[in-house]
């Protein structure tokens, strides 16, 4: 029942064939049976979900239901839901309960979506595998030895395992599209500013976007149509009118111009994925699409540019976690004892020392942390995982005096060059096609100790975030290793209709 589309559920409820409560029950059974292994959900509330289902059922029968009636959803644990735990899969937010709904949650509820729970992710959305989570790794439903991708791995796995029929994730460098590719589902990253970020815990504010996962393109379109649009609570949200995405998907245009960038089909791409995507493109061409070779010359600089800017923004955004207003706080008495012991040790050492050494030790005593600063340090150190610390450190470094221009300033300039590549390309084509990721999902644990290698997984998705444009990943085939892979369409700013149209054409080839 959780494989039915939102529209199918609604229709079956209206015809009396199904009760919405049964679909929610089916979701519960799936999660009960499989979540121990898959680890997609980190929290569920079926009591509330069943109550909501009964209310929506009534509305469907009386013809007053909203656009999302029939959707049974999970939400990535980085999006605030009132009175629900919102932990970002981090120890620093263990026990935190949001005191308000994110705008996207408000809109989904207003349109009668039923939300059953919260989904696993890499801590603070920093990662490409969902292994960096306080709840442990999510596992790929297609093969549980493999990663789900990340950082929205729970959101992708919940769809792939048929636990729900739609979910929300967030995408800062590929965190929706890459797990969608690895798990064989549809995932869409909207244009920057298309969807309000109010209530999304910030990772890198100039890149972050919230978007949908679903079994099919139409459901992704339906969710997007509801969550998109201006919000006065987010002044980077756009007033650009929201498209009729569902209608577009229901009547797709076949004669579209598809840009094929050479830079995305070269070294590093799995040859089988390359062949599969080329075969898909050939079919689209046979159906009336025009393939246009294009160039995006600054593509190879994307990862370096992204990891400078995103870590810089992260180091600033995560400064708010200090153990004062919310989140983990270190044990105060132990911290004070530690500080006192350090001070006494230093004083003893000063007494015993002389000359230059004495001076140095005295300076160290002067520089000693105040109790408050030590409280910040210990709370943060205990609360953040290693990858988050690594990114905070990188970000702090590239923003620090003496390096700001060399790294941050330089990356902002290169970001403009990358954006210009896309602006130029979209003068000639409707959409740009690429593989979503260079490989299929790899083994859990295989890249966790090599951060740079981990970053390189984002090579095909990261440009869309740098340019602020939209992108969608739709399943394109299954590799001989048994794992799925996706095809990505990128569209110019606010051209979500065009990428959804293209994604629907691929879906129709099946």
């Amino acid at each position: 029942m959780t494989t039915l589309s939102i529209a199918e559920v609604r229709a079956k409820v209206l015809s009396g064939e199904l009760k919405l409560r049964d679909v929610v029950e089916a979701s519960r059974q799936k999660i009960d049976a499989q979540n121990v292994e898959i680890n997609a959900f980190v929290y569920t509330d079926f009591e509330l979900a069943l109550k909501q289902a009964d209310e929506v059922q009534e509305k469907i029968m009386s013809g007053t239901a909203g656009k999302m009636a029939g959707a049974v959803m999970g939400i990535k644990d980085v999006i605030c839901e009132r009175e629900k735990p919102t932990t970002c899969a981090s120890d620093i937010l263990a026990g935190f309960e949001s005191v308000y709904d994110a705008t996207v949650i408000e809109r989904l509820k207003a349109e009668d979506a039923v939300i059953v729970g919260r989904l696993n992710m890499d801590e603070f959305a920093m990662g490409s595998t969902t292994e960096y989570s306080r709840y442990g790794a999510s596992k790929n439903p297609r093969n549980t030895r493999k990663v789900t991708g990340g950082s929205s791995g729970g959101s992708a796995a919940a769809i792939a395992a048929d636990m729900v029929n739609a979910s929300l994730g967030s995408d800062t460098g590929g965190s929706i599209r890459q797990p969608a590719s690895y798990c064989g589902v549809v995932g869409l990253k909207p244009t920057y500013g298309r969807v309000s970020r109010y209530g999304l815990v910030a990772y890198a504010s100039s890149f972050d976007s919230i978007g949908p996962f679903a079994h099919n393109v139409e459901d992704a379109a339906r969710v997007l149509e509801v969550i998109a649009g201006f919000d006065e609570m987010d002044n980077t949200s756009s007033r650009e009118p929201v498209g009729n995405y569902v209608e577009t998907v229901q009547n797709p245009t076949k004669n579209i111009r598809i840009g094929v960038p050479e830079e995305f089909f070269g070294e590093g791409l799995d040859p089988e994925i390359k062949e599969g995507i080329e075969a898909t493109l050939k079919k689209l061409e046979d159906d009336g699409a025009e393939l246009v070779p294009i160039h995006l010359p600054h593509t190879k600089y994307g990862i370096a540019t992204y990891y400078i800017l995103a870590t810089a923004e992260a180091s600033s955004n995560l400064a708010r976690f200090d153990g004062i207003r919310y989140g983990h706080r270190t044990d105060k008495d132990a911290m004070l004892d530690e500080l006192k012991a350090e001070e006494e040790d230093l004083k003893k050492a000063i007494k015993a020392a002389d000359g230059a050494e004495k001076k140095e030790l005295q300076a160290e005593l002067e520089r000693m942390d105040s109790a408050l600063v030590r409280l910040y340090k210990k709370s943060r150190t205990e609360g953040f995982g290693m990858e988050v610390k690594r990114r905070i450190m990188l970000g702090t470094y590239v923003l620090s005096a003496g390096y700001y221009d060399a790294y941050y300033g330089k990356a902002q300039r290169v970001r403009r060059l990358i954006k210009q590549d896309y602006t130029d390309a979209f003068k000639e084509v409707d959409v740009i096609v690429t593989p979503t990721a260079p490989t299929t999902a790899f083994d859990i644990g295989s890249e966790i100790d090599d951060p740079l290698q981990m970053y390189l997984n984002d090579v095909y998705t990261i440009s869309a975030n740098l340019a602020g444009i939209c992108g969608v990943s739709v399943p394109a085939g299954t590799h001989s290793n048994g794992m799925p892979y996706g095809i990505q369409f990128m569209g110019d700013t606010f051209q979500e209709s065009k990428i959804l149209n293209a994604a629907r054409l691929v879906e129709m080839l099946d």
Partner: protein, 95 residues
């Protein structure tokens, strides 16, 4: 540019993190690898390129100046690790 262990300790202080000696070593290695990779941006001449600060151009408009119900006092303190009925509590700062 090479990141020394001393640099790592200094940056950790700025970032309000305490690192073990082992973490300092690991991070110095990681940061050198990653920053080394980032140095490839220097292949590009960006002398005449303006930094991109806003990826989507949009006009900022001010909201109407009207009072709205904020998050309640009680809610604001709800997740505090230490608070009384009015304030967040922190360790003594002034000796």
């Amino acid at each position: 540019m090479s990141v020394t262990e001393k640099d790592v300790r200094y940056v950790a202080g700025l970032a309000r993190l305490q690192l073990s000696e082992k973490e300092v070593k690991t991070l110095a290695g990681d940061m050198n690898d990653i920053l080394g990779y980032m140095d490839q941006l220097n292949e590009l001449d960006t002398t005449n390129v303006e930094p991109l600060e806003h990826v989507i151009e949009m006009d900022s408009r001010l909201r109407k100046d009207e009072a709205k119900a904020p998050i309640s006092h009680e809610d604001a303190l709800k997740n505090a690790p230490d608070a009384d009925s009015d304030y967040f509590r922190v360790p003594k700062v002034i000796e």
